[in-house]
């Protein structure tokens, strides 16, 4: 994600691994939560209301992911004729969209759409008199808008991620363009048959990676728009630090991720699985587990958990990238010549490792900044546990009271400015990471 190494292919038995990860997260929350199991209301676990909410959120996620992947593929296929600079700029725009904090996007939408334009958001409207009867178009429009508003809002950062990912990774596919054209195959056929077939696995991998992060973004979107879905449930549970609703949310969230990944497999086909334990470790919704654990242990400094989650999430990708970099270094030749281990490391490895470390830290910082922004939007009280400069940046995004929400509605500029600062900082860190990182090819 975001200038980091491209995501590794998903491991084997991904569904099983996700289920295990979910169970471990549940156990961790149980262990950390001060609530006793005996005091829990077990009927909530079979409540139709909760699973209906999960269904609503699944619809929103499906619309957002489908919209994003279609837009990303369109962008890549239509821009295939453009030069590399133009495509690079398009990828950069996607990266910038992906860096925008989803809370800033959500509050900005509320402030501009409702505050300036006076447009409605169905889930945020006050009580009204019932509609006149037999006006099915209005009922249909309201229902569509109720789902499309959060879906399109969620699609903004997801689209940015996918555009950047697909355009950046497209050159890694074999270049068949010249060969096909030499055979007289029409351009449209080349693009929409052959090129698309090459891009689908790439898009599939990126989409699968997004399925692990999109539910967390959805928490922020549904919380801001008061959408009655799984995200709203999780937001209230995380703020309340109540053990069993969080656990139920984790189970629901894990279930939704499994369903999305299953749908991705149907659409994009089965991806070549990656081997290694690191791959299995990386393919978990770490941000979701991290937020749940942080909420279960009130009082302790929570930001260490986010850091662990960031490092674990990128571990496989960075490990794979380092292996590729290491392969290009003339280490074997140096050993043959008879250089000592220290000399070989000093002359060939140290510099690469230092640059790689700086690149990793920069990228991890960028991701952590965005994840911390998400965490502060979900639970505004955590802002106070940040260092003052960072807290000052993030405080406009941490809206906890109705008065704050009304102020953001009237004037969204503080929220948008804070979002812009976070996005710019993340983008700069990512660029630094890209510049410094040794090339693997």
């Amino acid at each position: 994600m975001n200038g980091e190494p491209p995501p590794s292919p998903p491991p084997r038995w991904l569904t099983l691994r996700l289920g295990s990860g979910c169970m471990l997260a549940v156990i961790a929350v149980l262990a950390l939560s001060p609530q006793e199991i005996g005091g829990w209301d077990r009927s909530t676990f079979t409540s139709a209301h909760f699973w209906t909410r999960c269904g609503s959120s699944l619809i929103v996620l499906t619309i957002a992911l489908t919209f994003s992947v279609c837009l990303a593929l369109s962008a890549e296929l239509l821009s295939s004729r453009l030069g590399s600079r133009s495509r690079g700029l398009l990828a950069c725009c996607g990266r910038a969209l992906a860096c925008a904090p989803v809370a800033a996007l959500a509050w900005g939408f509320v402030g501009l759409w409702i505050g300036r334009h006076g447009g409605p958001v169905e889930t945020l409207m006050p009580v009204e008199l019932p509609l006149a009867e037999n006006v099915w178009q209005t009922g249909l429009a309201r229902m569509l808008w109720e789902f499309l508003a959060p879906a399109l809002l969620l699609a903004i950062p997801l689209t940015g991620e996918l555009i950047h990912g697909v355009i950046s990774d497209a050159p890694m596919t074999p270049a068949l363009d010249l060969a096909l054209r030499a055979r007289g195959i029409p351009t449209a056929f080349i693009v929409w048959r052959h090129r698309l077939r090459q891009l689908l696995p790439v898009a599939g991998v990126h989409l699968r990676a997004l399925c692990l992060i999109a539910p967390v973004y959805l928490i922020v979107v549904e919380d801001v728009l008061r959408f009655m879905g799984w995200g709203g449930w999780m937001a209230q549970s995380l703020r309340g630090s109540e053990g069993h609703p969080v656990i139920l949310g984790l189970i629901g969230g894990g279930g939704m991720v499994v369903v999305l990944l299953g749908a991705a497999r149907i659409v994009f086909g089965r991806a070549l699985p990656a081997g290694g334990k690191m791959s299995g470790l990386a393919w978990q919704p770490w941000l979701l587990w991290a937020l749940a654990c942080m909420a279960a242990m009130p009082g302790s400094p929570p930001w260490l958990v986010i850091w662990f989650a960031v490092l674990l999430a990128g571990s496989a990708d960075w490990h794979r990238t380092w292996l590729k970099i290491e392969k290009r270094l003339p280490l074997e030749a140096a050993r043959v010549i008879g250089g000592s281990a220290w000399r070989i490391w000093w002359r060939h490895l140290a510099r690469a490792q230092a640059r790689f470390l700086v690149a990793l830290i920069s990228a991890a910082l960028a991701r952590a900044l965005i994840w911390i922004a998400v965490a502060c939007a979900v639970r505004p009280a955590w802002v106070e546990e940040l260092s003052p400069p960072l807290a000052r940046w993030l405080r406009p995004l941490a809206i906890s009271t109705s008065h704050g929400a009304a102020a953001a509605l009237t004037d969204p500029s503080p929220v948008l400015e804070a979002g812009g600062v976070i996005a710019l900082a993340s983008l700069c860190l990512i660029q630094v990471s890209r510049i410094i990182q040794p090339r693997a090819t």
Binding site: R142, A149, S402
Partner: protein, 679 residues
């Protein structure tokens, strides 16, 4: 290839187009309907108890749903509501030795009236014999013909009517109900009236020693405490004022049943059994009986003694259906939510829940708007309502975006802050000193410095904007004059600026409720203002309402800052009569003036609303110069409205009712019955 191309290229614009169409259609559908008014309130959903509204908004909502017998209109005048005609009369009852004598008395009176043409002189409407009792009805409750009438039948030896007061240590009312009311003794007791739980007054006629002995033997027991009986007085006949209220025909409850006098009777009987702190309780204490006549179209209220303000106290008291009251034998507050009583007002409650209330027009005649009330509206929801143009009125106005809702509507002032002086206090007993303190009070500065919506109050003892309101002028703020008064009264200022007499400095304590920021702040500001005069004022905050009430009851205060609730009644006797001046009474200021007592008594007995203003001015001319009370300011609420909303800001205050009255209509004239004297 083609389906994939269509899907990939076509899906995003299709979704965007669909979202655009859905958003625009939804926006149009949320436009405010022209026949509806949406009100957003910050308070929580009301309990819908028409007798105990928790807020001004709830009170006004209940006024839309429920109708009273009489109403105070925007001009402050009594107007018909469920009742369209009312009249006072006087019933005189004489008891004789037997029924035959009573009949002879009746015949004699009828002959006297017809033959002697005494109608105009005596104003005797009807005579009726019931057993050994003769019932006479006079058209005027002040009829002087009563004496002449009684003189005409003196020769038939009517039995004397004796008033007895019985007290017992423990609950007398329960014992009376179980042992007396259900037995033979009740037939000998003409009237019984309970003064609290431990005392009652009864009326006996003729030889009554046997009845008294029976009562004593029945009730007197060591378990219930000793029984005491005392004779209050004897008269020739029992005189009882009667108020007749005719229900306007064609009135229906929202469930379709007609409104009858039985409903009004059931409502007043219900209120007699409750402890709602309503002004009408002052009237109900004096009620002897409630009866229904004329096939249910007339409510007859028989009083123990003349109580003129009864009409005003009936104003704005909602009437509920008798059927609903009977089906809820012990009405609990939750009954008003679970099983809504139908009203007879212009609107009916169509639906309600914890967040909203919908009122729909009850009738089909006049076009009235639908009303939607949204409760517990958060600042975010309020702002969304304003930005999307889906709200017409926001209450309170401080939560509204004033650029979109520029019009302010001020609700009627229901109460004001006043300072009551303890005139028995050695320092404050001097009326001139109290006048000096009034001159030293800058009410404008208080209003500027105190939070909340505050209005100017006059110095009148009575509520403003009523037909008898006097708008008495306030004592102007004049510190120089105040110093002069103090100096003239022997309270010059010393070098430290403290006013001193020969033996003491001007120091007293101002007691105020401690639970309210408005009172506490006002008390401190007053103390600062009076310090400029030279008075050392210690502010003491009472921890709660019970503590404050106890201090008032025991007269353990020098000056007290309290809320005075405005009432439509012109009866001021409880507040200023010398009979209430002792600890335990309600004359907290301790005013004891025989002339003022007489004026208070005549005002309380005045039953003609047209003569009330004159009596009010007579009373205020005597009482206001004594400065027993210092009026400060009224408190009221404000709502913010969109431009074009009907109503406005009448002087008496804006109410929700103005939203439902598109054009001001002349109220129907009240019918007054007068006896025309033939030339």
């Amino acid at each position: 290839m083609i389906p994939a191309r269509i899907l990939i290229l076509g899906l995003p614009p299709l979704v965007v187009a669909l979202a655009w169409w859905a958003a625009e259609t939804a926006k149009r559908s949320h436009e405010r309907p022209k026949d509806a008014i949406v009100v957003m309130l910050a308070e929580k959903a009301p309990g819908l108890n028409p007798f105990m509204p928790a807020s001004e908004a709830e009170r006004q909502i209940m006024e839309l749903v429920h109708q009273p017998l009489l109403r105070i209109d925007d001009d402050g005048r009594l107007q018909p509501a469920l009742a369209d005609v009312w009249r006072w009369s006087q019933r005189v009852t004489c008891w004789f030795a037997d029924a035959e004598t009573a009949v002879r008395a009746r015949e004699k009176l009828q002959a006297e009236v017809e033959n002697g043409n005494r109608w105009a002189e005596w104003r005797l409407i009807s005579t009726r014999a019931e057993g050994n009792a003769l019932l006479l009805t006079f058209s005027d409750d002040t009829a002087s013909g009563v004496r002449d009438t009684l003189e005409a039948i003196t020769g038939l030896n009517p039995q004397p009517v004796a008033f007895w007061r019985i007290t017992q240590g423990r609950s007398l009312q329960d014992s009376w109900k179980h042992k007396i009311s259900s037995g033979k003794l009740s037939q000998s007791i003409r009237r019984a009236w309970f003064d609290g739980d431990e005392a009652c007054e009864i009326i006996l006629t003729g030889p009554s020693q046997g009845v008294l002995d029976d009562i004593r033997s029945t009730l007197d027991s060591s378990k219930d405490g000793p029984l005491t009986m005392s004779l209050l007085g004897e008269v020739a006949a029992l005189v009882e004022p009667v108020l007749d209220l005719d229900i306007r025909p064609g009135q229906f409850w929202h469930d379709g049943r007609p409104v009858t006098a039985e409903d009004a009777k059931a409502t007043l009987e219900y209120l007699q059994t409750t402890d709602y702190p309503l002004p009408v309780r002052d009237m109900l204490r004096h009620v002897q009986a409630l009866d229904v006549h004329n096939d249910g179209s007339r409510l007859q209220v028989t009083f123990r003694k003349r109580y003129g303000p009864a009409l005003a106290l009936l104003a704005d008291v909602p009437v509920l259906p008798a059927a609903w009251l009977r089906s809820h034998s012990e009405v609990k507050p939750s009954d008003f939510l679970r099983d809504l009583p139908p009203g007879a007002g212009g609107h009916r409650i169509a639906s309600h829940d914890s967040r909203s209330l919908v009122l729909l027009p009850a009738g089909t005649g006049r076009a009235m708007p639908r009303l939607l009330f949204s409760f517990a509206a958060s600042p975010l929801m309020t702002q969304i309502g304003v930005q999307t143009g889906t709200v017409d009125l926001i209450w309170p106005a401080k939560t509204a975006d004033r650029t979109r809702l520029p019009q302010l509507r001020s609700t009627p002032a229901r109460q004001r802050l006043v300072v009551l002086w303890n005139t028995r206090n050695p320092v404050l007993e001097n009326a001139h000193l109290r006048a000096a303190l009034a001159h030293a009070t800058d009410v404008e500065a208080l209003i500027r410095a105190t939070p909340g919506r505050l209005g100017h109050a006059d110095a009148s003892l009575f509520a403003p904007h009523l037909w008898f309101s006097s708008d008495a002028a306030r004592v102007p703020h004049d510190l120089e004059k105040a110093w002069g008064i103090l100096a003239d009264e022997g309270w010059p200022q010393d070098v430290k600026g403290v006013a001193r007499s020969a033996d003491r400095e001007l120091r007293f304590t101002l007691l105020a409720p401690g639970h309210d920021e408005l009172h506490a702040r006002t008390a401190r500001l007053l103390a600062e203002q009076w310090r400029a005069l030279g008075a050392l004022v210690d502010v003491e905050l009472a921890p709660d309402a019970d503590a404050l009430a106890g201090r008032l009851r025991e007269r353990r205060f020098d000056a007290v800052l309290v809320d005075q609730r405005f009432e439509a009644s012109w009866d001021q006797l409880p507040w200023w009569h010398s009979s209430q001046a002792e600890p335990g009474g309600t004359n907290f200021c301790g005013i004891m003036n025989p002339q003022i007592d007489l004026l208070l008594e005549s005002l309380a007995a005045e039953s003609d609303p047209e003569r009330v203003p004159v009596r009010v001015r007579e009373l205020e001319a005597q009482l206001v110069p004594l400065h027993p009370m210092l009026t400060l300011f009224t408190t009221h609420e404000e709502a913010a409205a969109v431009p074009g909303l009907p109503g406005g800001n009448p002087p008496a205050g804006w109410t929700l009712r103005s939203l439902t009255s598109p054009a001001r209509q002349e109220p129907p004239p009240a019918i007054q019955l007068k006896l025309r004297v033939p030339e």
